[in-house]
Symmetry: C2
């Protein structure tokens, strides 16, 4: 196990009706003049936004609205948000939505007190200050409600990049699983895939002696494997929604990933897909992640077999562990198919002939990107080709 | 799953040599004049205290020392600490030690800004303020480094009671597994038992649909079952120590126990043993917890069988699930014996004839204490009798 620092100061407020507490928690965490940030309308249509506004008003908290966040949130709205916060003297940002809204809020939060271009933080610079951010979560997926991460897409050129800092960890996150009961099956499955990917990116590591985090990762994955089919079959199943929602947070605060080298290449490789085709991130991951697993399988067959046995319930083939490892990947793909996810380029709406452009945009040139297996541009092209042609 | 609030704002700094960062983290978290609280000498003898002092001095932080905390920490030293903090204008308490030292520090922290008797907080009153507390942990056991709990024993009469508040969650906890490599096997095993008990107290619940926390609980238990025998056989095994140390924290921040009814009766029933005989809390739990499990087994045989199968690796007896459930308890006892823990009163140094006095002190009279199974005084006596006579 490697040395680590772990800090997750977010106050999680979980359960039915908790969105009505939003105002009280904003006040508790020092907010008085709020930017209410949201998406393209579902929070408005469902009446959620009105309930949140009422709870702010009850506490005498003023607010300014900024809606319109799109999936794969854009820098253009972030710039608008930063200006708005400055002109209105905003002291607290409340994101009402999913990962895209929260990530956009985090970008605005870093940008407001910064003299330069907020995009600097998405090119490796660390912020020194940020407005406090909090969330009312509406989909279990990105884990942004409990993380210090944010991913933004540059409108011009479609560059999708991430930033990270403890300063943008939400002060509180209100998580009412009931709000997710009306999500369409496809979006639900995309979220579930994202959650599982967050765990797998931590699971496949070269760090040895990490039993506690291995087991915690497996705990989240086993939960997702049990609960996701239940909500696909019965979207209104509150209990299954609740298990998935908490699993999604645990998956990404990093409590299951501390002290070990991680591998975020599947996320990076996927980002080029969602940037180019504007497809859902989770759907892209469903296509990329098993392809990546196939490509890296021989690097550490016993670790891949461990996942197959402990997560997918495969019988260990002690004479041919690679068979077990590959059976685990096959079960992952069958699982993804069963919850309605695409498993190849055609099903995603991607094109094999775009692979050179995707690799080009990934932008490592002659270099390599580190992780479980160091990847060259050629390796990444191979992974895209496996993904393009995957079948069950 | 029930509604819940979860808040764990402690910054964990984990790994080799991290104790040398103590001064830097005190400064980061706003401390300038520190009470350095420790135990009966091991932190002094090992040179740890000197290293911590140097790191404080390097940051220009002044400090006052208060050592002498005993296992099952006493109210008398807490009163002394409160007076000392007031007279010296202390603004931060740094506990260097295990659960006893940390719990004593938390009691002092609540007592300093309070006009009344700090013992009020151990009789149900909630504190409104507390000095900031942080820790340099020297044993994986109580989980106090990541919890908002504290247990103190009243010298007069031997009353052992707990207090809880988010205000006493440590600001930071420095956790260097190497510091635990010199711990004697018995103390190590006591700590491991305490960690496992913290999980089991959360695991046996009447709340349904809690797959995510069930799985997280199992993750911690499986880790303990794998790693504890390794450190008993090879105390200097850093990697196994590291896994146990992080498992001990995860076991007790409550991240594995949110949204579910918990049962802390084994802890309560044990407290009377360690208060009367001054035995190690973990050793008392080794005697009590399996006895409690036997007593409550028929209440929900399938939940007990789930633990047997998922945690202890028992084969499920689908015709006779109770056999599986009881086999799980038997394996728990064999595990405890294998790591050198007592499993009955004689091995602990307790006496069956004291049971009426123990029950009397538990103090529920004609009432009942809630949990997985509500217990009367008579039930508690039965559990003590099972514990008194347990055999493998």
């Amino acid at each position: 196990m490697d040395n680590f620092q772990f800090y997750s100061p977010t106050e999680f407020v979980f359960g039915k009706g908790t969105e009505n507490e939003a105002g009280r928690y904003v006040k508790k965490h020092g907010g008085s003049n709020v930017l209410l940030h949201f998406g393209e309308g579902s929070a408005v249509k469902s009446g959620l936004l009105d309930r949140v506004k009422s709870s702010l008003e009850e506490q005498g908290i003023t607010y300014t609205e900024l809606g319109g966040v799109k999936p794969n949130p854009r820098d253009t709205l972030v710039y608008e948000g930063i200006e708005l916060c400055r002109s209105k003297g905003i002291d607290f940002i409340l994101a009402v939505g999913g990962g895209s809204v929260i990530d956009s809020a985090k970008a605005i939060a870093m940008g407001v007190p910064y003299d330069g271009d907020f995009w600097d933080f998405y090119c490796g610079k660390s912020p020194e200050a940020a407005l406090p951010v909090a969330t009312v979560l509406t989909i279990a997926a990105a884990g942004s409600e409990g993380s210090g991460d944010s991913v933004i897409t540059k409108e011009e050129g479609g560059l999708k990049r991430g930033a990270g800092s403890d300063l943008i960890r939400p002060r509180f996150s209100i998580m009412d699983p009931e709000l997710t009961c009306t999500l369409p099956a496809y979006q639900t499955a995309c979220g579930a895939t994202d959650i599982m990917a967050h765990v797998f990116e931590r699971y496949f590591t070269n760090t040895t002696e990490v039993e506690i985090t291995d087991r915690l990762c497996e705990a989240v994955l086993l939960t997702m494997i049990k609960e996701t089919p239940r909500v696909i079959a019965d979207p209104g199943n509150y209990q299954a929604r609740a298990n998935i929602m908490w699993a999604g947070t645990v998956a990404h605060t990093n409590i299951v990933g501390v002290g070990r080298e991680q591998d975020w290449n599947s996320h990076g490789i996927e980002h080029e897909l969602s940037a180019l085709y504007d497809c859902a991130h989770g759907a892209g991951l469903a296509v990329i992640m098993p392809a990546w697993m196939e490509f890296v399988c021989s690097h550490n067959v016993l670790r891949m077999a461990q996942a197959a046995v402990r997560v997918w319930g495969c019988e260990m083939d002690f004479e041919r562990p690679e068979n077990t490892a590959r059976e685990g990947i096959a079960r992952f793909r069958r699982f993804l198919r069963s919850i309605g996810m695409p498993i190849n380029f055609a099903e995603l709406g991607a094109k094999e002939e775009d692979i050179p452009a995707l690799v080009e945009k990934f932008g490592i040139g002659d270099g390599r990107t580190g992780g479980f297996v160091e990847l060259s541009a050629e390796d990444i092209a191979k992974i895209y080709h496996i993904a393009a042609n995957a079948q069950i």
